[in-house]
């Protein structure tokens, strides 16, 4: 089966800000060639490492974010390197640029120059804050982006009874600033590829990470726009104008589960029936609660929440949520990521995939396709490239250099 983007070539010049976007493009079937500096991208130094051996071909971070790409090394700061880069740009559809600073501009490869090289080129740039503007030169990382973007002020723990906080706002870990920006950059890139089918010409697209992150919160912005009302962070649930009842509860085995209100008609009754079937409905089966009028207000909401908490505390995290879900109750264990690999749902859908690492003579479990298609396949491999793994394919096969010329480039430290 073809991939969706089966005839699309992508050239990636990216640090951690852009590798996720490249991974998605590769997953969608594009041929993604990652150009790394000789010695490898800095992201190869991000842990954890395979068997805890800190080597550039063993970064599990790099493995995950560069799965399915090809890799070549090239010092684009040298004149020869820059010439070779230009030749690659001529032959590519998409140039994904997520390097700090204006690396390409400094090489004379601004948008005007790029489009002259290749009028069909789609040039996608992921600057931290923007290619212009007062914060253009600000430095950030994942944490700083999630602070400025508003995620942190939405996430954290309950305030004290007087409304003040003794815990900081929290940045969910796992590079979400770059996931968000990568998703948006992917959307823009494929949109541009579709547009090019009509216009025949490329485009330059800027995806400022700060802006991508800033639009990825929920009700806090509309609440301020429409009501000038702030939202307050609270444990395990939406930041809201008022502190609401808990939805996250500890389980018998010292883990956590979440129960959301079912907003459909009959949702409340279904949950009470279920709690009752476990002998955990407390007084909620009493006649007076049959009338919705008696289920309004803070006191009832807190009581309702307490009853759920008691039920959750009586069972293990994985014990009864399936039964609840069978009754359309939105109930879920709060799992660690690794606890999903053995789940029968994901096994049935091949959500995880085994990937061969021939040089290690081992295969490992990776997260795989984010959706199920039948006409097109999500890419299943190969594993992330070793440093310079495809140098020969790229420079000899694609650009026509002789093996001697390739050897000379290596000697000069250009590849």
């Amino acid at each position: 089966m073809d991939g969706f983007l089966f005839d699309v070539k992508v050239l990636e010049l990216a640090e951690e800000q852009g590798e996720f976007c490249g991974k998605l493009l590769a997953g969608a079937g594009a041929d993604v060639l990652k150009i790394e500096p000789p010695g490898g991208q800095a992201t190869r130094r991000i842990g954890p490492f395979c068997h805890d051996e800190e080597q550039p071909d063993r970064s599990l971070y790099f493995w995950h974010y560069n799965f399915g790409k090809r890799g070549a090394t090239l010092d684009i700061q040298t004149p020869t390197g820059a010439q070779l880069l230009k030749k690659l740009i001529v032959e590519t559809d998409v140039l994904l640029d997520a390097q700090p600073g204006e690396t390409l501009e400094k090489l004379g490869l601004d948008w005007q120059a790029l489009r002259q090289l290749n009028p069909r080129l789609i040039y996608v740039s992921l600057p931290a804050f923007g290619r212009s503007g007062p914060w253009r030169d600000y430095k950030a990382n994942d944490l700083v982006h999630l602070a400025l973007g508003g995620q942190m002020m939405c996430c954290g723990y309950n305030p004290k009874d007087d409304g003040s906080y003794d815990t900081p706002p929290i940045a969910p870990q796992m590079w979400h600033a770059y996931h968000i920006a990568g998703n948006q950059a992917f959307i823009a890139t494929v949109g541009a590829l579709i547009g090019r089918e009509t216009t025949g010409i490329g485009d330059m697209i800027e995806v400022p990470i700060h802006q991508a992150v800033s639009v990825c919160t929920e009700i806090d912005v509309p609440y301020w726009i429409y009501n000038r009302t702030p939202c307050y962070r609270q444990t395990g649930r939406h930041a809201q104008p008022a502190v609401g009842p808990e939805v996250q509860f500890p389980t018998k085995d010292d883990r956590y589960a979440i129960i959301l209100p079912n907003p459909f008609p009959g949702g409340y009754e279904t949950l009470v029936d279920f709690l009752d079937s476990k002998g955990q409905a407390g007084d909620l089966t009493q006649e007076k609660y049959a009338d919705p009028a008696n289920r309004k207000g803070r006191a009832f909401a807190e009581h309702f929440s307490d009853v759920q908490a008691e039920c959750v505390a009586a069972f293990g995290m994985e014990e009864i949520w399936h039964e609840a879900q069978e009754r359309s109750i939105p109930w879920s264990p709060i799992r660690r990521p690794e606890e999903n690999a053995e789940d029968e749902q994901w096994q049935a859908r091949a959500t995880f995939t085994k990937v061969q690492h021939p040089e290690l003579d081992e295969s490992f479990t990776y997260t795989g396709a984010p959706m199920l298609a039948h006409e097109c396949a999500w890419r299943e491999g190969p594993r992330a490239p070793l440093i310079g793994e495809h140098n020969k394919d790229v420079f000899c096969g694609q650009l026509g250099l002789s093996p001697e010329e390739l050897g000379a480039l290596k000697e000069k430290g250009i590849i």
Partner: protein, 429 residues
């Protein structure tokens, strides 16, 4: 031109995870026809915040209400600010899909559409006689995207999912918060609703590209949970390869050595600044800005490894220094000397203060037929040649209920006014 000009999407989704995807496609120029029916409207139409003039439930009551929305209290379904944001750039029609005549009309819409996207429960469309085979018979190259919570295959096909559920099961909730014994802090918004929206849009775009190149449509099952799992790959590998269980690390950097790395208190009510120091240069610059305090010379803070090892003490000392400072001034000071730092910004900060977002025009004014012109979050990508913005082809905010019936039924489907009147009378549109 707009990149998706000429692409029409029949949008049967709702909430954010569903309706957010077509929103993104509208920004790229797709004509999105949002199909709604008055008996089961999008909950967001009943949810605050509302534009002024609404007599609805107050925001505080809504936050407390765990037992369902009180729809009767809402006077107009067209005044929800959140709905307006999520559905900007779309057209809207009323159509009763439960009525056989309604489904026949829907088939006419399919015949002139490129994409059908829906987020009903598993069997709904098939029960209505609108499965992929039927849709394909009407329009051979149709792209049909279903958005189930857990996927439409496998044992959990009937399970319910909302953003917080998808976050919880995928591992994203567990990975947010202070280390145990603190509970997970989780997410203060439906991150996986946004992600659901992104992956819905991505799926449709990939399929539209493929169709442009090959002429072939397809069916795709685009679950809400799986993209969440896809973001946890490093932790999954660390367990599979090294046998290590993932841990919450609060605001500390789990994999890239850095310290100080966290949110530090500032002057004001609940004000914090994030500071992330990894390199020696950044550390030295921070020490200079702090006025070279004696404690910074201590042996326990000499190297990065030392600073990481003694983070508790380091955080206390840095926090003692930031505590009486204005967060915005401090951000400017630290950034000026190359230290990555940023205020933990509220919505108010981003809307009223952030000069970079203002420079990027992150909010654009869009007209809404009932509530007038309000700021709406624009798409965060800036095209140079193509026209791309959240107004989409309608150059408008979200549709009022049934706002575009005339355009869709008359202009696209060729109905007469008399036919429309009859359908309206019968409760079909």
């Amino acid at each position: 031109m707009r990149p998706l000009e000429g692409v029409r999407i029949a949008d049967l989704t709702w909430l954010l995870a569903g309706a957010g995807g077509p929103r993104l496609l509208a920004s790229l120029g797709a004509e999105v026809v949002r199909v709604e029916w008055r008996d089961r409207l999008d909950f967001l139409r009943y949810m605050p915040p509302f534009a002024p003039g609404q007599k609805g439930q107050t925001e505080k009551a809504a936050a407390m209400d765990l037992t369902g929305l009180d729809k009767d209290k809402v006077q107009s379904v067209n005044r929800g600010g959140y709905f307006n944001d999520i559905n900007a750039g779309k057209r809207g029609i009323s159509l009763n899909m439960k009525d056989p005549k309604g489904r026949e009309l829907f088939k006419q819409l399919v015949a002139v559409s490129d994409v059908v996207v829906e987020a009903f429960t598993a069997e709904t469309m098939r029960k209505w006689g609108l499965g992929y085979d039927t849709l394909k018979a009407i329009k051979p190259d149709i792209i049909y995207v279903q958005q189930p919570g857990w996927g439409y295959t496998g044992p959990y096909v009937k399970y319910a999912s909302y953003g917080p559920i998808a976050q919880a099961v995928s591992g994203l909730t567990e990975q947010s918060g202070l280390p145990a014994p603190h509970p997970p802090a989780g997410w203060g918004f439906s991150y996986m609703d946004w992600s659901g929206a992104y992956y819905c849009a991505m799926t449709i775009l990939m399929a539209v590209y493929y169709k442009k190149r090959t002429g072939r449509g397809q069916y795709i099952d685009c679950s809400q949970v799986e993209p969440g799992i896809g973001m946890t790959g490093t932790a999954v590998l660390d367990h599979g390869v090294n046998g290590r269980h993932s841990q919450r690390t609060g605001n500390r950097s789990p994999y890239i050595p850095a310290a100080p790395h966290g949110a530090y208190p500032c002057a004001g009510d609940d004000r914090w600044i994030a500071i992330a120091v990894a390199s020696a240069e950044e550390w030295q610059a921070l020490v200079r800005e702090m006025g070279n305090p004696d404690w910074a010379e201590r042996e326990q803070f000499t190297t990065l490894a030392d600073r990481v090892k003694h983070q508790d003490e380091l955080d206390r000392l840095v926090g003692a220094w930031t505590r009486d400072k204005d967060p915005f001034a401090l951000q400017e000071r630290l950034q000026a000397v190359g230290v990555p730092a940023g205020v933990c910004q509220t919505a108010q900060d981003r809307i009223e203060r952030d000069p970079q977002l203002k420079h990027l025009n992150w909010l654009i004014p869009l007209a809404h037929t009932e509530i007038g012109t309000w700021p709406v979050k624009d798409i965060p990508f800036h095209f140079t040649n193509a026209t791309v913005n959240q107004g989409g082809p309608t150059e408008r905010a979200a549709p009022c209920y049934a706002e575009d019936n005339d355009y869709v039924y008359k202009e696209l489907l060729g109905l007469t006014q008399a036919e429309m009147d009859a359908f309206e009378k019968e409760g079909v549109i």
